[in-house]
């Protein structure tokens, strides 16, 4: 698959269809995102290392595609995208952080093993799949069995234990492609205390989970980034399921579909909401 992708990218660069291709560059076992503009460099292109290309660049809080687009306005940019990359692209375009019109998405799927590592429910690009097969994803969090059996009090104790491990490294937020706010509520001193450990339970972790209730693209970056191994996405899975059930909406599946929480222009499933309250 790697050779096929390299050939395809070479063609794209040669035919000047794109200005360059954003992908992962590898050298001496290190890997980092790179904007390929010369075809010779393509030998260093790699696809087996996970690096979410849409991840925002801290502390600028802007993603690479946005930076590229603002550097070369109007130019077409290629991006070698996994499922999560594509979903992040769609969600960010809805939030005005990238412009989808000038992006050539070269999608390729992950294998089952990779899907398992990220706990990814859709390990392939849904719209722009060019290379690889659609493989079955993982639709359940690895600690869901343990978590779902707990009652309310049990859940509280569970989180008290998990959250008290938190060292406030902000890794979960920094790794998240959807987190692009310039000022973050997690750092807001009005809301949570600063410079103290353990964190305030559960406000500190609530912020990101709640803000991304209908935007989380299930890339798994937050959990991968967490040095203390906090199963943050247990909550995200619950919320995403609720949103799917209520509005038949999954973030990152369709760039045209509006996020149901952030629009009141149309009325959808309104009666069902009252029953849940």
């Amino acid at each position: 698959m790697l050779n096929k992708i390299r050939d395809y990218c070479r063609d794209l660069l040669e035919s000047k269809k794109v200005e360059g291709i954003l992908a992962v560059y590898t050298e001496n076992g290190n890997y980092f995102p790179y904007f390929f503009t010369k075809k010779e460099e393509l030998n260093n292109l790699c696809i087996d290392k996970k690096y979410l290309l849409l991840n925002s660049v801290k502390p600028l809080r802007e993603n690479l595609v946005f930076l590229l687009q603002s550097k070369m306005p109007g130019k077409r940019i290629g991006i070698l995208a996994r499922g999560c990359d594509e979903r992040a692209l769609f969600e960010l375009s809805k939030r005005g952080q990238v412009n989808l019109d000038n992006i050539e998405t070269i999608g390729y799927s992950c294998n089952e093993e990779q899907a398992k590592i990220c706990t990814c429910p859709t390990p392939y690009p849904t719209v722009n799949l060019k290379f690889g097969e659609k493989v079955e994803g993982v639709s359940e969090h690895k600690r869901w069995k343990e978590f779902s059996q707990l009652d309310i009090e049990g859940k509280r104790k569970f989180w008290e234990k998990e959250f008290s491990k938190c060292i406030k490294c902000f890794g979960c937020r920094n790794a998240c492609p959807i987190c692009f706010c310039k000022e973050c509520l997690m750092e807001d001193r009005k809301f949570v205390k600063g410079g103290e450990l353990p964190v305030e339970i559960p406000s500190f972790h609530f912020v990101q989970r709640y803000h991304h209730a209908a935007q989380c693209i299930s890339c798994g970056e937050c959990e991968i980034a967490c040095p203390m191994d906090i199963p943050l996405r247990l909550i995200s899975f619950v919320l995403l399921n609720r949103v799917k059930k209520l509005y038949d909406y999954t973030p990152g599946m369709n760039p045209k579909q509006e996020c149901p929480i952030y629009t009141i222009k149309e009325e959808r499933n309104e009666e069902a909401l009252d029953e849940l309250l």
């Binding site: 859940k155 509280r156 309250l277």
Partner: protein, 143 residues
Amino acid sequence: MSKSEFEPRIVALLCNWCTYTGADLAGTARMKYPPNVRTLRVMCSGRVDPAFVIFALQNGADGVMIGGCHIGDCHYAKGNYSSRRRAVILKDTLESLGIDPRRFRLEWISASEGDKFAEVIKKFTKELKELGPNPLNKGAQDA
């Protein structure tokens, strides 16, 4: 403090046009309801950021209520719609965080429903008494 003596603290975020006026009416009509509620006026139930709810629960409230106009009667046309959409997600979030979702309520009480306001507060206080102190509030538990 024994459980029977426990008096829950309720933070009620009330919409200026309906529920706050309704609460006012309950007062002017001399209706009786428990003194456990502490009201906070916002212009619309749509103004309520879920962070306020979690903040209140974190900082000593045993229950939080959002009061808004009935669906369709919003002074700002659609504020209560977005409030309701948020509230549904918030309930799920609270539940998965191990906070009893019954500690949070979204109620539609119009300006003329002073009796409903009193009734809701009565019911909510009773329910919270049964639930006991909010475990997030360490101070209350120790005392």
